[in-house]
């Protein structure tokens, strides 16, 4: 997120709208209402990426590898994932994991495009499955772009910057 762009502060109606959007999204995903999330909150032009990360020296930056990903989705491939979960053969999430999105540190800025807002947030994804009592935890920084389409905010871009290089969860059949 370009830090020179104007900050949308917490005392504004727009910030409240962004926060409400984030909480609504988390609720839909936690409740496995994936189809509803896709159709009401995700732009047809979406890019949804989880870049791959390596451990590198400080001088080389944060280790995110260009053009290499854990997930790289378009609306079509997200739709494939949702459709797959609707079949009775999507074993990875059936029975489904119990997932909880904890989203904090929400920072929003205007962008060069008048209808696009950039939003950074911290995500803690808490996941248990079957009789597991120790959760799988994924923590990340989310970089989102929300675009106003027909009056409502829609997810135009999401980059999930994981705080792991070796992923300690049995699959990524989940949405961040």
């Amino acid at each position: 997120m370009d830090s020179t762009l104007p900050r949308i502060t917490a005392d504004t109606a727009l910030y409240a709208e962004v926060l409400d959007w984030i909480h609504t999204e988390a609720e839909l995903l936690d409740d496995l209402r994936e189809r509803e999330w896709l159709e009401t909150m995700v732009s047809r032009d979406v890019t949804y990426a989880v870049p791959l990360r390596q451990t590198v020296e400080r001088a080389r930056g944060r280790g995110f590898s260009p053009d290499t990903y854990h997930l790289l989705e378009t609306y079509g491939s997200l739709d494939s994932r949702v459709t797959r979960n609707e079949t009775p053969y999507a074993w990875a999430e059936d029975p489904p994991s119990r997932i909880r999105h904890f989203v904090t540190n929400v920072r929003a800025r205007r962008t060069d495009a008048p209808d696009v807002i950039a939003v950074k947030s911290n995500l803690l994804l808490h996941r248990t499955r079957q009789d597991q009592s120790v959760p799988q935890l994924l923590s990340a920084e989310r970089h989102d772009e929300l675009r106003r389409e027909d009056g409502r905010l829609m997810l135009l871009r999401r980059d999930v910057l994981l705080d792991l290089t070796v992923i300690r969860t049995h699959n990524l059949a989940i949405f961040f």
């Binding site: 989880v50 791959l52 390596q54 451990t55 590198v56 020296e57 080389r60 280790g63 590898s65 053009d67 290499t68 990903y69 854990h70 997930l71 790289l72 989705e73 378009t74 079509g76 491939s77 739709d79 494939s80 994932r81 459709t83 797959r84 079949t87 053969y89 999507a90 074993w91 990875a92 999430e93 290089t165 070796v166 992923i167 300690r168 969860t169 049995h170 699959n171 990524l172 059949a173």
Partner: protein
């Protein structure tokens, strides 16, 4: 009381006897004593896949990799040679390479500052004269793998001085690696660093699955057909060959029954790419087998697998395209495996074709992909069964009978241009029995001794064929 060693030996005998009959003791997927022995006798001796040459193209390029659970630096030195260096300082055993990849002229230990060049030679240490009287640096370099070699751009290393040359170790498998990686003079490169993820499963589950477990596709991966990710119907896709390339190494081809049947060939690689395939580096027979193939999946013993097939991550917008993935099943304890997953492509693909293949691979054969997300589910419970007291007490045997003489429709094939024992239709588990037969032999071999790396000519030695 039975000693640990006795218990492992008993399990290994049961594997050898069982593999012939078509049963494998479940405890091999979780027994901790057996696992420790695997680190020593399998990963400590076999040729282990480490990297693709295209990951370290320039002098000084390095990647950090593992043999068994141990860290090794795979580095291209100033003369362009690839060295595999044990990541442990000669002074106190401290890790000297702290990045997953990079480019460097040297590795410096953060503890006392001993510094090594890309050949692993000790080139300096602080106050060497005061501290060590200027003693010779020779003999104080990093330890190296006993042998390092490449085949078709695939870099392997072994810790065993007595290991046969890589080509001999690969045996018949080399012929099949050629027709995946050597179809033209450009060859293959990896598309970025590997994904890595850890799951609670035993490494052998991955190795046996990629040896040719096609039977699971219809149930576990049924959703993949439902969303149009793969173009060949399940039952047609079961037609093809299971091949025990040589002891330990197995593979599987999906192939149309009629050689000229329309549909994906060359694993679904783009037609424009296929036009560049030729017999510069391979035989006409190899080229023809590749042409007819829809799917190739194989495992080089112990833990290096590869897969080529037509896939798409979004069937409604993009038709399936050939993807190529390489992976290792890195042992991480008896009940844990770290999966390393690379995507690869022919170097002369256009950027658009590479992007398409990459996205298709990522959306299917990756930890977030439609295919792979389901694979980890059963493997986790195989390992749970394998470490169970019940499996031990009940002497719980798993069924590996498919394709034995009289079991199912699979039949031995005599007319086949390549090496190995060949069965037609993929309703067959001889490929996995091959994995476990060699595994047990490797586990029992005394230091310096190697099990046979070729199938014997006489029928008695082949076991299954003698009954056919």
């Amino acid at each position: 009381m039975t000693s640990h060693t006795d218990s492992s030996a008993k399990l290994l005998n049961a594997v050898t006897e069982g593999a012939e009959k078509g049963v494998i003791p479940a405890s091999i997927f979780g027994d901790p004593d057996l696992y420790r022995q695997e680190l020593r006798n399998v990963f400590g001796r076999c040729w282990v896949f480490l990297a693709h040459e295209s990951e370290i193209p320039a002098k000084g390029d390095y990647v950090l990799r593992k043999i068994g659970e141990d860290h090794f630096i795979v580095v291209r030195d100033d003369e362009g040679e690839i060295n595999v260096l044990f990541d442990a300082c000669r002074h106190r055993g401290v890790q000297v390479c702290r990045s997953d990849s990079g480019n460097t002229s040297h590795f410096r230990c953060p503890y006392h500052g001993w510094t090594y060049n890309t050949k692993g030679n000790l080139v300096g240490a602080p106050l060497w004269r005061n501290a060590f009287g200027g003693m010779s640096k020779e003999g104080n370099g990093l330890a190296s793998a006993a042998k390092v070699a490449s085949y078709q751009g695939l870099v392997f290393g072994t810790l065993d001085e007595s290991a046969p040359p890589l080509k001999e170790y690969l045996g018949g498998m080399a012929w099949y690696l050629d027709l995946v990686f050597g179809l033209n003079e450009h060859g293959v490169e990896v598309l970025g660093p590997p994904q890595r993820f850890v799951i609670d499963a035993n490494w052998k589950s991955g190795a046996e699955n990629f040896s040719g477990d096609d039977y699971h596709l219809g149930t576990l991966h049924r959703s993949v057909w439902e969303i149009g990710a793969f173009p060949v119907p399940f039952h047609e896709n079961m037609m093809g060959y299971h091949i025990q390339a040589s002891p330990g190494h197995s593979l599987s081809f999906s192939m149309a029954q009629d050689a000229d049947e329309p549909g994906p060939n060359y694993f679904g690689f783009p037609d424009e790419l296929a036009q560049s395939f030729n017999t510069t580096n391979i035989s006409a027979d190899q080229l023809e087998v590749a042409r007819r193939s829809r799917v190739f999946v194989g495992n080089v013993f112990p833990n290096f697998s590869m897969l080529a097939l037509p896939m798409t991550e979004d069937g409604s917008h993009h038709p399936p395209v050939g993807i190529l993935t390489l992976r290792t099943w890195q042992p991480h304890g008896p009940g844990q495996v770290e999966v390393w997953n690379w995507f690869a492509g022919y170097k002369n693909l256009t950027p658009e074709q590479k992007d398409r293949a990459y996205r298709a691979g990522l959306g299917t054969f990756s930890m977030g992909g439609a295919f792979e997300v389901d694979d980890t589910e059963p493997w986790i419970t195989v390992s749970r069964t394998g470490s169970s007291t019940a499996a031990k007490l009940l002497d719980f045997q798993l069924n590996y009978e498919m394709g034995k003489p009289g079991v199912g429709i699979s039949k031995p094939v005599k007319e086949w241009p390549g090496p190995g024992r060949v069965q037609w239709t993929r309703y067959e588990e001889g490929v996995q029995r091959n994995l476990y037969t060699f595994y047990a032999e490797m586990m029992r071999s005394a230091p310096g001794e190697w099990p046979s790396l070729a199938f014997g000519e006489d029928a008695a030695d082949t076991g299954e064929e003698s009954q056919a």
